[in-house]
Amino acid sequence: LDELVVETATKRKQWPKKILRHTIQTYKAEQE
C-alpha cells in the first residue's frame, strides 16, 4: 500500500507537467 501511495503521489506531482509539455507541443504544432 505504501509503495502504491508513494508511486501515485509521485505521478500526481510529475505527470501533469510532462503531459502539459506534450500538449503545448501539440498546440504549437497545430498552430504552425
Binding site: L1, D2, V5, V6, T8, A9, T10, R12, K13, P16, K17, E30
Partner: protein, 200 residues
Amino acid sequence: SVNPMAYEAQFFGFTPQTCMLRIYIAFQDYLFEMMQLVESVILKKLDGFPDCKISPSEIRKSTEKFLLFMKEHFDKLFSKMEEVLLQLVLNIPKNVLLPEDKVHEQYPYSKEQFQELQEEIQQLQQQYKAEAAAGQALRAELEEQKAVQTELEKILKWFEGLENICREHGTSNFKESFAFLTQNAKKLQDVLKDVEEKSR
C-alpha cells in the same frame, strides 16, 4: 480506515507513516541493543566475582524486567510523539495547496466545462478549416475571373478596333453607313442593269 496521507506523500516523497515506522523500528532496535550491551557488561563484571551467587539467568530476568518496563513507556511515548508529528509536522493542512497544484486554484473548471471547451476547440478547428477551404476557392475564382476578364476585354478591344476602323474611313455610325452602302450597292446594281439593257 487508513488515511494514506497521499497529499503529504506528494510533497515529502514518502508517506509520513512510513517515516514514523522507520524511526520506531530504529529506536526500538537501539533500545534492545543497549539492553543486550548492559546485560553483557554486567555478566562480564560478574566474572570478577566467582563466589557471588548471582546467576546469568537471574541477570537475564532483571534485563527482561527492565526492558519490559522501558518498552511499555517507549511505546506510549512514541505513539504520543507520532501523533504530534503526524498532526503538526508531517502533515499538509487542509487549506494548503501545493505549488504544483496551483493551477487547480486558478482554474476551478468542472469536468463538463472542460469537455465543452474541448468540443468548442474541435468545432473552431473545423470552422477554421472550412474557412481556409472557402478562402482557397474564392482565390481560385478570383484568378479565374482575371483570366476571363482579360479574354472578354480582348474581345471588347477587338470590337472597338473594328469600330475605330470604320470611324477612320468616315463611317462613324456603322449602321447608317451600312444601310447607305447597301443602298449604294443596290443603286449600282440598278445602274448596271440599266447600262446592260441599253448596251443590248
